[in-house]
Amino acid sequence: MSVGAGSAMSLVLRRELTLSFRRPDQLLQPLVFFLIVTTLFPLALSPELSLLRDMAPGVLWVAALLASLLSMEGLFKSDAEDGTLEQLALSGQSLGVIVIAKTLAHWLVSGAALVVISPLVATGLAVPIEAFPIMMLSLAMGTLTLSWLGAIGAGLTVGLRRGSVLLSLIVLPLAMPLLIFGANATDRAIGGETAAGALYFLAALCVFTTSLAPLAATAALRITLE
C-alpha cells in the first residue's frame, strides 16, 4: 500500500501529537521551565517594574530559547531508541517529509505552547498589553525557526549518549541572530515604536530555515542513522 507524501506527513504529524498528548507531563515540563526561569530574574535582580520592563525582551527570549531547546533533545531520541525512526526511514516515504512533520509537531507542542503562555510571563515582567501581539508574533516565528535549527542539532546528536549539552552547544550559536531580532522586535513593541524591521528579519530567518533546515536535518539523520 503506498501512501502519498501529504498523507504520510499528516499521519506522522497526528502520531506525534497523539504521543505528546498521552504524556501531558512531558508536554508541560518545558512550559513550567519557561515560567520558573522568568521568575528567577525578578528575584535575582530587582522587582522594580521599570527595570523589569527594560529587561523583559531579553528575559523572555532567552527563557524561550532555553525552554525550546530543552525539549529539542527528545525530537528524534525515543523514536531512534525503539527503532521507529529506522522503520520510518525505510518506509519508502521521503525522510524529509517525516522530518518536517516531526519538527512541526514539536513546534506545535513546545513553541506554540510557549507563545500561548507568554502573555502570562510578560504580565509578570510588566510588559504593557499593547506590546503583546508583536511579542507573540515574534516569539511564534522565533520558536519555529528555533525548532528547525534544533532539528538539525537533534539529527546530528541523536545517536549520542550524552547529546543534550552538545545539542545546546551546537544550536545556541546558530540561534543568536534569532535572539537579536526577536528581542529587538519585542523591545520596540514595549517602547511603543514600530517593530516592522526586526519582524521582517525574523520572518526572513523563518522562511530561510523552513526551506533549508529540513534538508540539513534529513542529511544529519541519514548520517547518524546508517
Partner: protein, 244 residues
C-alpha cells in the same frame, strides 16, 4: 590532467606531500615573520593617533583573517568529503579545526589587549568582536561533535554537515550582530577609520600575513600527518613504514 587531484585522495600520498611541504612552509614563514616582527615593531613609525599600541595589528589582523579562513577551509573540506566521500578531505577538515580555533582565540586575545589602551576596556560588545566570539563557539561545536562519535567516519560526516550549516549562518550572524549593535549604541569610542597605510607600516603587515598563512599551512601539514597516521593505523602502508 586530473591525476594530481585524484592522488590527493590517497593517504600515503597526502602523508608524504604534507611532510615535504611542511619544512618549506615553516622556513619561509620564519623568514617572513622575522622580517615582519623586526620591521613592524622596530622600524615602522608609530601611528599618529594610537602611538606604539597600533603595533599589535601585526599579530591581530593576520590572526583574525586566518580564523575565518580556517573555518571556511574546514567547511569546504568537509563538503568535499561529504559529497565525494573522500576520506582525506575529512582528515583535512579535522586537522584544521583546532588550528582555526587557536587563531580565533589569538585574534580575540590580541584584540582585547589592543582594546584596553584604545577603548579603555578589554572587552566591548562591538560587532566584530561579537561575531568573532560566535565563530569560536561554532568551532567548539564542530570539534566537540566530531569527538562525540565513537565511529570516526560518522563523526567526520556529522562535523562536516555542521560546519556547512555554520558557514551558511556566518554571514547572517555577522550582519545581525552589526545591525544589533548599530541600533543600541550610537557613537562609539572605537572609531578608527581604515586610513590608507603608508608603506613603512604596510610592508611588515603584508609580510606578517604571508608568514602567518605559511605558518598556518605548516601547522596544517603537521596536524594532517598525525591525523592520517591515526586514521590509517590499521593499513598496511603505515605498518610497513613503521617497520622500516
Amino acid at each position: 590532467m586530473w591525476t594530481w587531484f585524484y592522488r590527493l585522495a590517497s593517504p600515503p600520498y597526502v602523508y608524504r606531500t604534507a611532510a615535504a611541504f611542511a619544512p618549506w612552509f615553516l622556513l619561509i614563514a620564519g623568514i617572513a615573520i622575522a622580517y615582519g616582527v623586526i620591521d613592524g615593531l622596530v622600524f615602522a613609525p608609530p601611528d599618529y593617533q594610537q602611538g606604539n599600541a597600533f603595533r599589535i595589528i601585526y599579530v591581530h589582523a593576520p590572526a583574525g583573517w586566518l580564523s575565518m579562513f580556517g573555518y571556511t577551509l574546514m567547511a569546504v573540506a568537509g563538503a568535499i568529503g561529504l559529497i565525494w566521500r573522500i576520506k582525506m578531505a575529512h582528515a583535512v577538515s579535522a586537522a584544521v579545526a583546532p588550528i582555526g580555533a587557536s587563531f580565533t582565540v589569538l585574534g580575540l586575545v590580541t584584540g582585547s589587549l589592543w582594546g584596553r589602551p584604545m577603548w579603555g576596556t578589554y572587552w566591548a560588545w562591538d560587532p566584530r568582536l561579537t561575531s568573532e566570539l560566535i565563530l569560536l563557539f561554532l568551532y567548539f561545536g564542530v570539534m566537540s561533535l566530531r569527538a562525540a562519535f565513537e565511529d570516526p567516519a560518522r563523526g567526520d560526516r556529522a562535523a562536516a554537515l555542521l560546519a556547512i550549516v555554520g558557514v551558511v549562518n556566518v554571514p547572517i550572524i555577522h550582519f545581525s550582530v552589526q545591525w544589533w549593535n548599530s541600533l543600541h549604541q550610537g557613537a562609539t569610542v572605537m572609531k578608527f577609520e581604515k586610513s590608507s597605510m603608508p608603506g613603512s607600516m604596510l610592508w611588515p603587515l603584508l609580510a606578517m600575513f604571508l608568514g602567518f598563512m605559511l605558518f598556518f599551512g605548516a601547522m596544517l601539514c603537521m596536524r594532517l600527518r598525525g591525523e592520517v597516521l591515526n586514521r590509517e593505523r590499521q593499513s598496511s602502508w603505515v605498518r610497513e613504514m613503521l617497520r622500516a
